[in-house]
């Protein structure tokens, strides 16, 4: 299998604290990989290192055998791109103008987005079902529509490798599944290699060939969803108790509790709170 993206012993940190401590990756063309892990485990940082938004303190990222840090910016952008987490900046820009930006790495500095470039933009717009909104301004769209517009921009770049940072967070479930199906479609039809950071573990299981679980900047577990999904995995990485079963050939989990035990409750003032008014007073006294 053709290897597209490689990372060896990546280390990254601010001052002394390491956020990413020895991340390894060997990604094959056409693979769908998800990176999962608790909050603050370094997932997004890993994605930023892989997309060259951050430079590692140690280690290197190789894109098709070339050190990504030494490659021309535009050349990287023609092969690989990332969709950062939901964009909350409300731009007064039409969907079409945004998606056109995706052609930037393919255009020379004097070139306008015309001809074939424009057909690719239109393709990306249709792909994301944004045809009716192409002249709408971004700030008039709903969160889901806006997310689709940003994905369309990344698509217009026609990257061989697409990194996605929590592409479904903030979306309702119907949009989440729509986006995940679309990512799978891109992977199946265009053989686009996909790396995504996901919070929903069942979605990760359903939509990836391989999963990497990160904890404290280190790889905790990695393998196929079948290999990973077992009670001890959820306990070690996420501190939750969970049962696992197979559904339609895909392992799914159901949490049954937290592995953490809570400290005993204190009764403020030595007695149970009696009335709302007193409760208010008690809070004031504390805070």
């Amino acid at each position: 299998m053709e290897n597209v993206l490689n990372a060896s012993s990546l280390r990254y940190g601010l001052q002394e604290r390491l956020i990413v401590d020895g991340f390894e990756l060997s990604l094959n063309k056409g693979e769908m990989l998800s990176i999962v892990g608790p909050n603050g485990s370094g997932k997004s940082t890993i994605l930023r290192l892989l997309s060259r938004l951050l430079a590692p303190k140690q280690g290197a990222v190789m894109l098709e055998g070339e050190d990504i840090a030494r490659m021309d910016t535009k050349r990287v952008a023609r092969k690989l791109t990332m969709l950062p987490q939901t964009q909350d900046h409300l731009l007064d820009l039409t969907v079409l103008d945004l998606v056109k930006q995706g052609r930037h790495p393919h255009l020379k500095w004097f070139e306008e987005c015309r001809g074939e470039h424009l057909s690719i933009v239109e393709w990306a717009v249709e792909m994301m079902d944004l045809g009716d909104m192409r002249f709408r301004s971004l700030y008039t769209l709903s969160g889901g529509e806006r997310q689709r517009a940003w994905i369309a921009m990344a698509l217009a770049q026609l990257p061989q490798t697409l990194l996605l940072d929590e592409p479904t967070t903030y979306l309702d479930i119907s949009h989440q599944i729509e986006i995940m199906e679309l990512i799978r479609h891109l992977n199946a039809e265009l053989h686009m290699t996909i790396v995504m950071v996901l919070h929903d573990l069942n979605q990760a299981s359903r939509y990836s060939d391989r999963m990497i679980a990160v904890k404290d900047g280190k790889i905790a577990r990695s393998g196929t969803p079948e290999q990973l999904f077992e009670p001890s995995f959820f306990r070690e990485v996420f501190q939750i108790e969970a049962s696992v079963r197979m559904e339609d050939g895909v392992p799914v989990y159901m949490p049954s509790g937290s592995s953490r035990t809570f400290p005993p409750m204190k009764k403020w003032g030595g007695q149970a709170i009696q009335s709302n008014k007193k409760a208010g007073n008690a809070h004031e006294a504390i805070g």
């Binding site: 997309s51 060259r52 938004l53 910016t73 535009k74 050349r75 990287v76 952008a77 023609r78 791109t81 990332m82 950062p84 964009q87 900046h89 409300l90 731009l91 007064d92 820009l93 039409t94 079409l96 103008d97 945004l98 930006q101 995706g102 930037h104 790495p105 500095w109 045809g131 192409r134 002249f135 301004s137 700030y139 990344a154 770049q157």
Partner: protein, 334 residues
């Protein structure tokens, strides 16, 4: 499918060109000696020695054209700043243009009044120098916008303090500084126009090469990098050209504020945020505003003359607040 707003954008462009021509004509007609439109035409195109030609050609036209360039430069500069800093409050003042030009100009006016002829060039150099200092202070392997803004605030207050100190120590000369401080086109003539014209021309031409850069920076540093943009280089270029234009404008007109802030916001409401159209329409809008406001400042209060900068702030601030109540397009203001 056609862009339903495309027609509107062309319409806005045509209306703005019309308004600008009307403002220029109005400016040539109005004043202590009114000149009818027909005579304006003769004065412009017949090389006679009439009184009308004297007034129109030697007095009003150069002042109008200077105002036009000042307006164009300030509003284009403001449009760039708001995009680069992704901040609705950004204007050329944020990176020290106003404070740098101000300190240099006040130094000349108070300490070296015999060198008044060098005032525009000193103000321009002051503006550029202040920007370079702010950029250098903010630079640490790159200059992100947040650090540029903070460095700008610090350097601006430093320069402002120096300027105030200079004025307090020489309070008897402050009177001569005031019109410049509030922005005025009083007595501007062909030499002033010739001073600003080459800088403005360079700035305007350079601006149109920066449209792509500005459009990309607007999306944020991360996205711009992912699109293959060289963010630091683009930002520096755009800031430099903005400084250049705003510095050129302030050096002949004094501290005219508000144009760079208000005009791009109004234009955004009309044509959207794509720099390809935002920039030329902002240029026209700035030109119209300064030309019209200066004509009003000069003729409505006859025989008094009002500094155009004050009039702009008096009219601009309430209008800006009105816009703000409706929510500025593309910015989180609610």
């Amino acid at each position: 499918m056609k862009d339903p707003k495309a027609t509107r954008r062309y319409l806005v462009l045509i209306v703005f060109i019309g308004l600008l021509l009307a403002a220029l004509l109005y400016g040539m007609m109005m004043g202590s000696v009114p000149v009818p439109a027909k005579e304006v035409w003769h004065a412009l195109f017949d090389r006679t020695d009439s009184e009308a030609r004297q007034i129109v050609w030697n007095l009003r036209l150069p002042r109008l054209l200077t105002g036009l360039l000042v307006g164009i430069c300030l509003s284009m500069s403001g449009a760039f700043m708001q995009g680069v800093f992704r901040n609705p409050l950004a204007d050329p003042g944020i990176i020290g243009v106003t404070a740098g030009a101000g300190l240099a100009a006040v130094t000349i006016m108070i300490l070296f009044p015999e060198k008044m002829a060098y005032l525009p060039i000193a103000a321009f150099l002051g503006a550029v120098a202040a920007t370079i200092v702010i950029y250098a202070v903010a630079w640490k392997g790159g200059a992100p916008t947040g650090r540029l803004i903070l460095a700008g605030v610090a350097i601006n207050s430093l320069l402002g303090a120096a300027m105030t100190a200079l004025m307090i120590l020489n309070s008897e000369k402050v009177q001569s500084v005031l019109p410049w401080m509030s922005g005025s086109l009083n007595g501007r003539s062909w030499p002033h126009f010739e001073t600003i014209a080459p800088y403005a021309a360079i700035g305007i031409v350079a601006s149109f090469f920066l449209v792509k850069h500005a459009n990309m920076l607007m999306l944020g540093d991360e996205v711009a990098k992912l699109l293959g943009g060289r963010v630091e280089r683009s930002r520096m270029l755009v800031v430099l050209v903005s400084t250049f234009m705003a510095g050129a404008a302030i050096s002949v007109s004094g501290m005219i504020g508000f144009v760079g802030l208000v005009v791009p916001h109004i234009v955004r409401l009309l044509v959207g945020g794509n720099y390809k159209i935002l920039l030329p329409v902002s240029a026209l809008g700035g030109g119209i505003l300064v030309v019209a406001a200066d004509t009003a400042a000069r003729s409505w209060f006859d025989p008094m003359e009002f500094p155009v900068g004050i009039l702009l702030a008096l009219l601009g601030a309430p209008f800006f607040l009105y816009l703000l109540r409706g929510g500025l397009r593309g910015w989180k203001t609610s």
